[in-house]
């Protein structure tokens, strides 16, 4: 290979390199005239899809004017992270139990949805909350019954 072909190769390399550069810049430039894809979050918010999985919450039923939880404890047993606590009580002996307290430690929840699937009364669902910043780790413990009261009032 003579010095002339070396030189030719060198020039060719520069040319192909510049071509790549121009093509790449062209794509970037084209992008300038495309719509913006990011959402300016605190000013604009997206609506969550119906299937979005936030922390769990109780469903309000019209027939009991409350939830349908019978404190069976299946969700407590199914939870892989053991974050659910349920307490139920009976108003009279011989009556069905009624869910009185329901806490979920959301800081340890892995959002698998097994508790919602296993519920025999179908009274659990996912909320659409996604702004989950807390000042203390106890703020992550969510009182589901109080949330339901807040909704019904």
């Amino acid at each position: 290979m003579g010095p002339l072909s070396e030189f030719k190769k060198y020039i060719l390399e520069i040319l192909t390199g510049s071509k790549s550069l121009v093509i790449g810049m062209g794509i970037t430039f084209k992008r300038l005239f495309m719509p913006i894809v990011t959402v300016q979050y605190p000013r604009r918010k997206l609506t969550m899809t119906p299937n979005f999985r936030g922390h769990i919450e109780a469903i309000y039923f019209d027939d009991t004017k409350s939830h349908h939880c019978v404190a069976c404890g299946l969700c407590v047993r199914t939870c892989p992270s053991h974050v659910i606590k349920v307490q139920g009580e009976k108003e009279k002996a011989g009556e069905r139990k009624y869910g009185q307290k329901y806490y979920i430690d959301f800081t340890k929840c892995s959002l698998c949805g097994l508790c919602v699937d296993v519920c025999p009364e179908k009274t659990l669902t996912f909320s659409h909350e996604y702004e989950l910043a807390y000042l203390s780790r106890w703020d992550g413990v969510i009182d589901i019954m109080r949330r339901l009261e807040a909704v019904t009032k």
């Binding site: 390399e13 192909t16 299937n51 199914t78 959002l111 097994l114």
Partner: protein
Amino acid sequence: MLNIKTIDDTTINERVYQLNLGPQHPSTHGVLHLLLKLDGEVVVAAEPIVGYSHRGHEKMAENRIWEQFLPNTSRIDYLSGLIYNQGYCMALEKLCGIEVPERAEYIRVITSELNRISSHLLGIMAFVMDIGAFTPFLYGFDDREHVLDLLERVTGSRLTYCYNRFGGVRNDIDQEFCDGTRRFIDRLRGRFKDYHNLITENIIFIKRTREVGIITEETALEFGVTGPSLRGSGVNYDVRKNEPYSVYPEFDFEIPVRKEGDVMARYQVRMAEMEQSMNIIEQALDNLPQGPVRSHVPRFIDPPAGDIYFAFESARGAVGYYIVSDGTRIPYRIKVRTPSFSNLFVLTRILPGNFIADAIATLGSIDVVVPEIDR
């Protein structure tokens, strides 16, 4: 005391020094630790040190019921969680003899292939960013965002989907999801031209990837490499074709194979695989049967005593669940064969003799997920 002087000490002299690539290095994916012996810029020996993100998923399985292992499956490989989810459910369905409705199988294939596209997009773009191109990374993430939005619409979460259930899937898909998926496929096909212009035909990318980090067919088979890295070395092996599971035999798709075995070949295989995934999704959407998405399964399953090995293809290669049941509600043993582990250790063979800059490119092209190596 931890003894990490496993590299043959005879290679060490005054010229050779040791470099810890990672555990916190911008070019390593996660907490990967590569111990490199360097002679100037040339790698003399390479040794991956694993275990930094070992979480004990296999042991965790032994003290929880079968259902409770479901959220773990999508956290073994967080980039293709749905595929792992599907595999675990299919393994147990095979063991228990649970029938799955056909619509559920189709939905599983659609969501898994979408997950494969998102994983490949991230894999390719992170690899391209490793070797210095930042722009394609942002474009790739723009496209990946659309996949995640689609998957969020049907599964409810964006990364650690716990969507498959024994005997089907959790939610049915709606018309809007089908239309959105078709729109996304059209969009991604259009974007491929940009990617080829930006990456595949870019002279810097070509120079950094051609004839670099060559895995020969023999080496690949010797180390048990699977997935796009194996197909980039000229071996036509894909679990979806060779040992078909689910409804994959009903679809018409090809397994992209490149003979070169270099970094470029692995990149090209991944790009071609995304196109094949889009073909599969389109066919599945066209032939989507009606019906239920979940068969009637007891609340807590009781598999019969016995063992089963179930292999499936994740975005990184062949995954296997070896499940031993002693007939109780708690697994006796779950062993997960993950592809990243075998794929990573091929570096000990192919890195020596290469420049350290090429080592980064090779590492990126193997596309390992560190939590999957350690499990």
